[in-house]
């Protein structure tokens, strides 16, 4: 690794103060599961590394009346073990539960998963499907909020200012009739990057009409996003097989429009549809 200096602030203010001077040459480290390999390979050569793991205000999960706030250095293990998340956002728990292996989950954080913005991220698509909003702070401009859907410009490029820290991920609670789920296809059953994943939120009223439909496939496009055309094909309708099949095809086609056709496209085109149909079948049963 190229030489750098290492600082551990004890409060958000300390961290922001540091960044206000050194932002361009600083890399923030939390769990380090993405950053440390990059530093070793010298893909990144910062002059300073800022360790935010000792800032208590950046960790933990709080439930409010209508929202749940997850602080960025909450680890995947903490997410999996959180009663609040298990009750309200099973998809987020499932996404966190499949990241890497136990050691990675004990260190990796939700903030890191979002901040790294890998195309193959697991937690990020789940947060997107849950309409997650990011809270960012800097000394220069205070606090701002941005929906995750507008926060990632390109793979590995979140739209954070260099002097900003992610200080919260805010998730609105779902309507009582809505449920969330997450599935992942990996090459092996642990320690596997997603070959493909899918985060879905589905809500149906008593007449079995779909009132809520959010679809975010991950690891199939450079930047994960809601697939509005496929969502529109189901909203307001009943999830009967021909409707679901048509929506699944629309979903896959919408994906190909973004990615173009490459060697892996045929696999993704078919498997995404299969995954979606399977998920919908289980959610509507």
């Amino acid at each position: 690794m190229q030489k750098f200096q290492f600082y551990t602030p004890r409060s958000v203010d300390d961290a922001l103060a540091f960044l206000s001077h050194n932002a361009e040459q600083t890399k923030i480290i939390a769990g380090g599961t993405d950053l440390i390999p990059s530093l070793r390979q010298e893909d990144l050569q910062p002059a300073f590394v800022l360790n935010i793991l000792e800032i208590g205000a950046l960790r933990g999960i709080t439930e409010q009346d209508h929202r749940i706030r997850i602080r960025p250095t909450t680890t995947f293990t903490e997410m999996v073990e959180s009663p609040v998340l298990n009750r309200h956002f099973p998809s987020l728990v499932q996404a966190a539960a499949f990241v890497g292996g136990p050691q990675i989950r004990n260190r990796g954080t939700i903030g890191g998963n979002i901040g790294t913005a890998s195309p193959a991220a697991d937690v990020l698509p789940a947060v997107l499907a849950l309409d997650g909003e990011l809270e960012l702070q800097s000394k220069r401009s205070g606090t701002r909020y941005i929906p995750l859907s507008r926060a990632i410009a390109a793979p590995y490029k979140p739209l954070f200012q260099p002097d900003e820290i992610l200080t919260g991920i805010i998730l609105p609670k779902l309507n009582p009739e809505a449920r969330s789920t997450f599935v992942k296809v990996g090459r092996r059953n642990a320690m596997a990057r997603a070959r493909m994943n899918l985060a879905v939120v589905l809500g149906m009223n008593r007449e079995k009409v779909i009132t809520e439909m959010r679809i975010v496939p991950g690891a199939v496009m450079p930047v994960a996003r809601r697939m509005e055309r496929a969502e529109g094909a189901l909203l307001g309708k009943k999830p009967e097989p021909p409707v679901v099949d048509a929506a699944a095809e629309a979903l896959a086609k919408e994906m190909v429009e973004v990615t173009g056709t490459r060697w892996s496209t045929e696999y993704k085109f078919h498997v995404l549809q299969n995954l979606f149909k399977g998920v919908l079948g289980r959610l509507t049963a």
């Binding site: 690794m1 190229q2 030489k3 750098f4 200096q5 290492f6 600082y7 551990t8 602030p9 004890r10 409060s11 203010d13 300390d14 103060a17 540091f18 480290i29 769990g31 380090g32 599961t33 440390i36 390999p37 530093l39 070793r40 590394v49 360790n51 793991l53 293990t77 890497g100 292996g101 136990p102 050691q103 990675i104 004990n106 260190r107 059953n189 642990a190 320690m191």
Partner: protein, 168 residues
């Protein structure tokens, strides 16, 4: 300035003993353990968190030491394989591994044992599935995991004798 002075002095507890070392800030905890403290029981496998050979317990949680920056261990409690048992006084898990033939080349073994300790502290009677999940971040190429799982499942008298871990 409210940020810690850049002294690069690392103070932590390793296997129950207070330790104080000057470190290069670019070093990982793995490198400090092996090269500064001579604790080479923790193995260097892939150095990118993919193999688990460097698994240690950090505040009781199993982590890859190669993915912890040395200075992130400031003030923390670290447990390595050396703290588990000694040749003269093997930990029940170590005895179980030997009895069940769970050690072949031995490179994954320290990491496996630390992952197993983390599991057994939380769950003293895990199912085979729970055991497999707890070691799913530890790769083994020799054993096919079969005897490792059996060794963890059949350990008798798993108990924590924190006092002895330092070899006092």
């Amino acid at each position: 300035m409210p940020i810690e002075r850049q002294e690069n002095l690392l103070r932590m507890k390793v296997n129950g003993r207070a330790v104080e070392v000057q470190v290069d800030p670019t070093w990982t905890l793995l490198r400090v353990l092996r090269e500064k403290l001579g604790l080479t029981g923790t193995k260097k496998g892939c150095e990118q968190g993919d193999c688990g050979a460097c698994t240690i317990l950090l505040e009781g949680k199993a982590v890859n030491a190669c993915l912890v920056m040395a200075l992130q261990a400031e003030g923390k409690e670290i447990e390595t394989i050396e703290g588990l048992g000694t040749p003269d006084r093997l930990h029940p898990l170590q005895k179980s591994f030997i009895r069940h033939g769970a050690v072949q080349c031995g490179f994954c073994t320290p990491g496996m044992l630390m992952s197993a300790v983390a599991l057994l502290r939380k769950n003293s009677d895990p199912s085979a599935e729970e055991i497999k999940r707890s070691i799913s971040g530890n790769l083994c190429r020799c054993t096919g995991y079969a005897k490792i799982v059996r060794a963890i499942q059949n350990v008798s008298d798993f108990q924590e004798e924190r006092g002895h871990a330092t070899g006092d």
